[in-house]
């Protein structure tokens, strides 16, 4: 599967007109020998398919190639950026789940009442507001009030701060992109949660739990909730990929130094190995996300384990 993605990306990148060698050739500081060196190193004079095989061979040796744009090995840049993207995605993920699940439960319990209506209205609005627009508006508000920093990840004086100061600084920078990224997710997750909860609440065992006189809280939180949340965990893996994809755009707008903005730079400068590594990483993250979701599901829902 990952091989397929890599091949696709590789062909796409080779299809694109001009390549990085042309770019570095224009740079008078780089001699013709260096260009030739790269050419032989990555076998660029050979046919495309052979180049690809070469790349895969290197990959298996743990070498991701060399970024022509940044002039450092790809793995160096990627690992930094991966961490940044991870922070952003994780924060947004936490916000989404911590807000959406209680909201969904509340909406289901007050079905068609005022509270439900209000929540549904707002989730429609949030679902339809493009995240990039939200990011812009938040940034604008921040620029007007001056409470939050405008984009980026660190303040210029970040290095002088102590550990606590660093954490606060990072947190303040995180607020806007994470919020912009989460709102849409909250809306959709909340709706799914509400739907699941309503379905479960209509089941017979809820009726019998109520009939035997359990307090309503126990019925809702220990009987209904545990069953309603299972399908969401399966979603979690897919959510992960969507999150990465959404994060990319927000990263670009909020100038957060993550994988997404890296990808844009890489694509623009036709930095082929950087693009390849990025795509591959996207795929790997997706698989990890799905794996985690499966493990978590097996933990939460014993029925799945016993079947095997």
């Amino acid at each position: 599967m990952l091989l397929g993605i890599s091949l696709l990306t590789f062909i796409l990148m080779r299809l694109s007109p001009g390549n990085f060698l042309d770019t570095i050739r224009l740079d008078p500081q780089i001699s013709e020998e260096t260009v030739d060196h790269y050419k032989t190193l990555y076998q660029l004079d050979k046919p495309v398919l052979w180049q690809f095989v070469h790349w895969i061979k290197n990959l298996l040796k743990g070498e991701l190639g060399y970024s022509f744009y940044f002039n450092v090995p790809v793995s160096r840049i990627i690992s930094d950026r991966l961490f940044n993207t991870f922070i952003l995605s994780f924060a947004s993920f936490l916000i989404t789940w911590l807000i959406a699940i209680p909201l969904g439960i509340a909406a289901a319990l007050h079905r068609n009442k005022f509270m439900d209506r209000v929540i549904q209205f707002f989730s429609y609005v949030c679902l339809s507001l493009p995240s990039f627009f939200l990011a812009m508006v938040f940034l604008f508000l921040a620029s007007q009030t001056g409470i939050l920093p405008l984009g980026g990840m660190y303040s210029p004086r970040f290095d002088d701060l102590n550990l606590l100061g660093k954490a606060t600084d990072l947190f303040l920078h995180l607020v806007i992109p994470a919020l912009a990224l989460s709102l849409g997710g909250i809306a959709s997750l909340q709706r799914i949660m509400r739907g699941n909860m309503l379905e479960v609440l209509g089941q017979q065992y809820i009726l019998s739990a109520r009939a035997k006189g359990l307090p309503e809280n126990r019925v809702v939180y220990s009987h209904a909730l545990r069953n309603a949340i299972n399908p969401l965990i399966t979603l979690l893996g897919y959510e992960f990929s969507a999150l990465l994809s959404g994060a990319a755009l927000i990263e670009i707008i909020c100038s957060w130094p993550g994988l997404g903005s890296l990808m844009l730079t890489a694509v623009r400068s036709k930095d082929i190995y950087l693009v390849m590594a990025n795509m591959l990483l996207g795929g790997v993250l997706f698989i990890i996300g799905n794996l985690l979701a499966d493990i978590l599901l097996a933990k939460v829902d014993p029925r799945i384990r016993y079947e095997k």
Binding site: M1, L2, G4, I5, L8, T9, L12, M13, L15, S16, P17, G18, Y124, V125, L127, S128, L129, P130, F132, F133, M136, V137, L139, F140, S143, Q144, L150, S241, A242, L244, S245, G246, A248, L249, I252, I253, G260, M263, L264, V267, K270, V275, N278, M279, G282, G283, L285, F286, I287
Partner: protein
């Protein structure tokens, strides 16, 4: 179901669903709103007072022109005042109304020439003000072009991309899903692995990589089609998977066996007898996936990889707002976002309403 006519007519499932849908007033309203938006896009060159490239740079970021009906204490037909500006101490333009100049707003004002429906040359615009007056209904952009006109022209790109994209990706998705589900086995396996490959990569990354393969020297029409194809390239996989799941159960039905028995070809069975049963799902899936295309195009244009200036799309109009300071002194550049929002919410509401009204049929098909 009671019918008022004497002979009770049998009501088809689709009519039933349609009746259900009509009961949802909000969704009904959204249908009209969408029709209006699409109408705006079709008649953009007639409805807009200026062409999308009509610029006058001295009016860069001129604020929206207020429309007046009272002149020197007397009621008159709607008109606008002339626009004047001077520089303040920061060399920033400050716009003012020049109350001595008055330009009446006229219907069917002659202006920039355009071709109605692409063929009939025409100079009439629905409304406008005579030269040298200028009217900015929603303000001006950096080059003094009328934002309202540009939004109308941009609607053509942004709205049509959703429709064409969905058309392409759904034809691929339905066909692939149908074939995979009908044949099963090895073909199914290969096709589904290909699908998964597309679903595996975060969509936006794939979008960027695909965009990189588009030559730089494409003209704007070519770029437009490239974007449509790229977007539908990403969207088909998830649909194909769902359709395949449905087809797996549909192919076991008796009528499929009957069709096979009378010697229909496999393709004919898939197209005529299996895929129509997935229609109710596809209909609302289409509605709910159109916003994705609109947002995808906007995102690409926003970061400068989509439709290029001077052509307008809602995304590239918004790219002006990427520098946050500009929002402060020209907040009207956020207007395109409002239109994106309006379109997306309409599609979402209609899609949801359709799903609710088609629900009884869905349960039957599943």
């Amino acid at each position: 179901m009671k019918s008022k006519s004497k002979e009770p007519k049998p009501i088809s499932e689709f009519q039933l669903a349609l009746n259900n849908f009509k009961r949802n007033r909000l969704a009904h309203f959204c249908v009209y709103l969408l029709l209006a938006l699409y109408g705006m896009a079709v008649f953009a060159d007639f409805l807009s007072p200026y062409s999308f490239e009509n610029e006058s740079r001295q009016y860069s970021y001129s604020p929206p022109t207020p429309i007046h009906i009272i002149h020197e204490g007397k009621m008159t037909a709607p008109f606008v005042y002339g626009i004047e500006f001077h520089y303040d101490e920061n060399r920033k333009r400050v716009f003012e109304m020049d109350k001595t100049k008055k330009f009446p707003i006229q219907l069917f004002q002659t202006g920039d020439e355009y071709k109605l429906f692409g063929v009939i040359p025409c100079r009439y615009h629905f409304f406008g003000v005579p030269e040298p007056g200028r009217m900015y209904l929603m303000g001006a952009d950096s080059r003094g072009r009328d934002l309202f006109s540009r939004i109308l022209y941009g609607a053509r790109v942004s709205l049509s991309i959703g429709l064409i994209g969905v058309l392409i990706s759904f034809s691929i998705g339905l066909l692939v899903g149908g074939i995979a589900g009908y044949y099963g086995g090895g073909i199914d396996n290969i096709l589904m692995r290909i699908c998964e490959m597309f679903m595996l990569v975060p969509g936006f990354y794939l979008l960027l990589a695909l965009r990189a393969a588009v030559p730089d020297d494409f003209n704007s029409v070519q770029v437009y089609f490239a974007i449509v194809i790229i977007l539908s390239f990403i969207g088909w996989a998830s649909l194909a998977r769902i359709i395949r799941g449905m087809c797996l159960s549909l192919r076991e039905r008796e009528y499929v066996l009957a069709a096979k028995a009378i010697g229909l070809s496999d393709l004919a069975i898939i197209l005529k007898h299996i895929l129509p049963h997935t229609l109710s799902y596809s209909i609302f899936a289409v509605m709910l996936s159109i916003p994705g295309y609109i947002l995808g195009e906007s995102a690409l244009s926003l970061i400068g990889l989509g439709i290029q200036d001077p052509y307008a799309s809602w995304g590239n109009l918004l790219s002006d707002a990427m520098s946050i300071v500009r929002i402060k002194f020209a907040p009207w550049i956020l207007w395109p976002a409002f239109f994106i929002f309006l379109t997306v919410i309409c599609f979402n509401i209609i899609g949801d309403a359709l799903r609710d009204s088609l629900d009884p049929m869905l349960k039957k098909a599943a």
